[in-house]
């Protein structure tokens, strides 16, 4: 073979290598999709696509086999679990944001100064919860809040507890203060000492726990 022919072959080989490097496993799904496939977390459509790919790919099947499978649902827990009768459905609030204020602005009722605010969404009920608290002249806190939602007619059947003491062993909680919103969803909790609390909203059917309501004395 001539030197020129050898050079052309070498160029072709190099060119083909570039193509291979670019196209190698281009159709293979990312490994986290394989993981989700194995765990049954994908939509029916995506599952079908990956199933079809696995039928022809020489690589993904091996990778799939090595990925951890979901654990079996255990019927006997490894340790005695604390079981308490559940009378209510527990719903969770999505934290949206907080706003720490240090300026001396009076709150909406004209009392004290607002120190902090919190916003939550309770998606299952379509509610928003907004709270802010301020320090009164007696160095106790005033918490003001409002529930906003599509069914305000049930607001006055809601019980709101502010809880400080929580015993995880017994499940007992001790409310520091209690209240009920008015028909506009407004509520007030007065004369609250500094500390870390949880708010518990109870409707006739649901319980909505909101931990980490931290009432700190402001830095002077």
């Amino acid at each position: 073979m001539t030197k020129r022919a050898n050079q052309e072959d070498s160029d072709d080989e190099l060119f083909e290598k570039r193509i291979k490097a670019a196209l190698f496993r281009i159709n293979c799904p990312d490994a986290d999709l394989l993981l989700d496939y194995k765990w049954g977390l994908l939509s029916a459509k995506k599952t079908a696509v990956i199933h079809q790919h696995l039928a022809t790919c020489p690589y993904c099947g091996g990778e799939l086999a090595n990925l951890v499978a979901p654990p079996p649902i255990s019927t006997s827990p490894s340790a005695p679990e604390k079981q308490f009768p559940q009378r209510f459905r527990t719903l969770f609030a999505q934290f949206v944001g907080h706003h720490a204020m240090t300026r001396s602005s009076q709150n909406e009722s004209g009392r004290g100064r607002i120190i902090s605010s919190l916003w939550y969404e309770i998606e299952a009920l379509g509610w928003d919860l907004e709270m802010h608290w301020g320090l009164e002249p007696d160095n106790l806190f005033l918490i003001q809040g409002q529930l906003l939602g599509p069914n305000p007619e049930i607001f006055d059947s809601i019980k709101i507890d502010l809880i400080e003491e929580i015993d995880v062993e017994t499940g007992l909680v001790k409310p520091t203060a209690k209240t009920t919103p008015d028909s506009a969803g407004l509520f007030v909790l007065e004369a609250i000492p500094a500390g870390v609390y949880a708010l518990r909203l109870r409707t006739p059917a649901d319980v909505i726990p909101i931990p980490d309501i931290t009432l700190n004395m402001p830095d002077e």
Binding site: D12, L14, F15, E16, K17, R18, I19, K20, A21, A22, L23, F24, R25, I26, N27, C28, D30, A31, D32, L34, L35, K38, W39, L41, P58, Y59, E63, N66, L67, V68, P70, P71, S74, S78, A79, P80, E81, K82, Q83, F84, Q86, T90, F92, A93, Q94, F95, V96, H98, I163, I166, D167, V168, G171, L172, V173, A198, V207, P209, P211, D212
Partner: protein, 234 residues
């Protein structure tokens, strides 16, 4: 489950979680509900929850990475970051978290995230090695793992590869050319292995070589394809 867990301050919850992790590591009975509640709070963006999850499980993730991947401390750090990003995106949303009924399932999926990131890293390094193998310049280094975190880099590379595929396929004259592209270049099979799998498509291994060479020639004559292949993104 003890509903009072949902009311516990997050730092106290993390403390209980840490105690139960120690129990578990000492092969003693442990209660996973504290750590599970901590993960749940991270799902709902509760302040501090994710920070506690990270601090309590960071060493676990690192040890899992080391189990599957032999690399530098810097590489392991980069993989850790990618694992955390993927775990947070794939598990820690209220909708996805419903699929994880207990702590065992959450931690098992976390371990799966480690494996999947290591697999993707190995794939990418393999692609880089192939790309390097044709380089005429010596000393070209493997692309650092950290680039996997860079979404823009990932998207650029994906887009480039798809453009190459489109260019190559535009020169496929019939379905057997498509088969060659798929088996020789995407799946990286040897011609004799392609013939074994598809004896009905080709008369001989020699025919595969000839057809491949013709296809390469057509692609090579296309200046746009050639330019694309010569200018891979970094």
């Amino acid at each position: 489950m003890n509903d009072s867990l949902h009311l516990l301050p997050t730092d106290r919850l993390a403390h209980h979680c840490e105690k139960q992790i120690a129990q578990f590591k000492a092969d003693k009975p442990s209660d996973g509900s504290f750590c599970y509640e901590l993960f749940r709070r991270a799902t709902y963006d509760m302040p501090l929850a994710w920070d506690f999850v990270f601090s309590l499980y960071e060493s676990h993730i690192r040890s899992r990475i080391r189990r599957h991947f032999a690399g530098s401390a810097e590489d392991i750090e980069d993989i850790l970051q990618i694992v955390l990003i993927k775990f947070r995106r794939n598990v820690l949303t209220p909708e996805r978290f419903k699929h994880f009924p207990n702590l065992s399932s959450v931690v098992a999926y976390l371990n799966g995230c480690v494996q999947s990131v290591v697999i993707d890293t190995a794939r990418k390094q393999e692609r880089q090695r192939r790309a390097e193998s044709f380089s005429l310049d010596e000393g070209e280094s493997v692309e650092p793992i950290a680039s996997q975190v860079n979404t823009e880099t990932i998207l650029m590379e994906q887009e480039w590869r798809l453009r190459v595929l489109k260019c190559v396929k535009s020169h496929c004259k019939h379905r057997f050319d498509d088969l060659l592209v798929e088996q020789l270049w995407v799946n990286d099979l040897k011609p004799q292995d392609v013939y074994k799998q598809f004896p009905h498509a080709f008369s001989s291994v020699k025919q595969i070589h000839t057809q491949k060479r013709n296809l390469v020639d057509r692609i090579k004559r296309d200046s746009a394809c050639r330019s694309l292949l010569e200018h891979a993104p970094n």
